[in-house]
């Protein structure tokens, strides 16, 4: 091997990398919150009688699922710019990941909605609950239980997807910080190895956390 590792300077960058990981988590959480809300709406759209709403659902879901996430993020930043819709790197990445997550989650939610028996809704309605109340108190809690696993998976994907921000100029997330350091020093392996460890830790943190949460929430 014709290469001597320079770990010392790379390890000195550890605090910056950690901050990058915090930003990464922030972007993922933000995109997931927005993504889940939109996904619920899309799932309801798919059951609606309105052709327009059903159309919106299917266009969104198909576009999100059939084009690469990298393409989506790039399109939000550079493509929408030509339409005069200029978003900075951070919001572009959030919009891109939200778009992607909403598309995938909408399908999970749609399946989840189907699994909740229609009779429950009718029973609640006949007890005098309003339709929104039924949705919030009867349907949603069960829905979340059904889609909990897909949401956890999607959260991990959201974290991995934040790494795409680097193509639209983001410099303060984990991938951005790593790339900045590696292009200045050209010590690609050292910095990316550290980043890989941090991404792994983030993903583990989410799956383990979700496991604990699931045991707390769903034990009955």
């Amino acid at each position: 091997m014709n290469y001597t590792f320079h770990w010392a300077p790379a390890l000195k960058a550890w605090p910056q990398l950690l901050w990058g990981a915090v930003v990464t988590l922030e972007i993922a959480v933000l995109s997931m919150i927005l993504g889940v809300m939109i996904a619920i709406a899309l799932a309801l759209f798919s059951k609606s009688n309105s052709k327009l709403l059903r159309g919106i659902n299917s266009v969104w879901v198909e576009l999100a699922r059939n084009t690469p996430a990298l393409f989506q993020v790039y399109m939000v930043y550079f493509g929408l710019g030509s339409l005069g819709l200029r978003l900075d790197s951070y919001p572009s990445l959030v919009v891109g990941i939200t778009f992607n997550c909403a598309g995938y989650l909408a399908e999970a939610f749609r399946g989840g909605l189907r699994a909740i028996p229609e009779t429950q809704v009718r029973a609640a309605r006949s007890l005098g609950m309003s339709a929104p109340k039924v949705f919030i108190f009867i349907v949603l809690p069960q829905l979340f239980r059904i889609v909990f696993y897909p949401i956890t998976n999607q959260m991990v994907w959201a974290i991995l997807m934040t790494s795409l921000g680097v193509v639209v100029g983001l410099t303060n997330d984990l991938m951005g910080v790593t790339q900045q350091m590696s292009v200045v020093t050209f010590r690609t392996f050292e910095y990316f190895a550290l980043a890989a460890i941090l991404y792994y830790a983030l993903a583990k943190f989410v799956t383990l956390g979700a496991g604990v949460l699931a045991r707390r929430l769903f034990q009955y």
Partner: protein, 270 residues
């Protein structure tokens, strides 16, 4: 245990045994030199109307190949990818306007300068930026890890003002596109490319808002740090290019009329 040590010794010996051939030997025996060239910085490197690599750097690589008596192979790389291309053995030499920073010299071997740039401020006509100081309060960006990008970012950080921001792109084309699309208002750019762009008429909304205050950007040919044989060859090659008038010829062909820029630095040896 003994046998393990013995085995290790044999392995170590077998690795060390072949006579050491360096990169220069490898290139000559392979009959081909692979140059990492950046093709989004016209006129130094770009794709022509037939989508073929062209420009100052491409010709420079071909000259180098001719001097070595081998074929030239152009490996297209984005600016931040030049050195990784060398390290991952996708290319033998980077002929891609690599600034000779001390940070880089820790990892790669740099030749004497083969070209020198001034860095200018590229902005949109409607941005209201007229000079380098004018970038305060604007969203700006550059190419990750470049000489000008790093200095620009440091200066933006020194402004310590939340509305003055810096974004790092992974290619020169993306940074210019972001200025023209309006995601950012200004970017540092090498003078040759900025002038070429304005001349081409393809970017009616862009202007050059003066020079940056950076020292001249001396750019070098880069290869692996330990390849002294090749680095020596590159240094002599650059010297010969100037001596024989080929440098002036290429300058005239790609950059424009006038005297080619001086590659020497007054008051110090290299």
């Amino acid at each position: 245990m003994k046998s393990v040590v013995g085995l290790a010794a044999i392995l170590a010996a077998s690795v060390a045994l072949p006579a050491h051939a360096d990169k220069l030997d490898d290139i000559i025996s392979a009959g081909k030199i692979r140059c990492a060239v950046t093709l989004d910085i016209p006129p130094n490197g770009f794709r022509d109307d037939k989508n073929e690599p062209a420009g100052f750097d491409v010709d420079y690589c071909k000259d180098l190949a001719k001097a070595l008596g081998v074929e030239a192979e152009i490996v297209e790389t984005q600016l931040p990818d030049r050195i990784p291309a060398l390290m991952s053995d996708r290319a033998d030499v980077a002929v891609a306007s690599t600034s000779d920073t001390l940070e880089r010299a820790k990892t790669v071997g740099l030749s004497i300068p083969y070209f020198v740039y001034k860095q200018v401020v590229l902005t949109r006509k409607d941005s209201g930026i007229t000079d380098y100081a004018g970038i305060k309060g604007h969203a700006t960006g550059g190419v990750a890890g470049t000489f000008e990008g790093i200095q620009w970012e440091n200066d933006v950080k020194k402004l310590n003002d939340s509305s003055s921001t810096y974004r790092a792109f992974q290619g020169q084309a993306d940074a210019v596109l972001a200025v023209s699309q309006g995601q950012i208002d200004a970017t540092p750019l090498i003078n040759t490319m900025a002038e070429e762009m304005i001349k081409s008429g393809k970017y009616p909304n862009l202007v050059i808002a003066g020079d940056t205050p950076y020292v001249p950007d001396y750019v070098t040919l880069a290869t692996l740090r330990q390849e002294y044989g090749l680095i020596n060859y590159l240094n002599l090659f650059i010297n010969q290019q100037v001596r024989t008038g080929r440098y002036a010829e290429l300058y005239k062909k790609w950059i424009g009329s006038g005297d080619p820029v001086d590659l020497t630095i007054k008051g110090v040896y290299r």
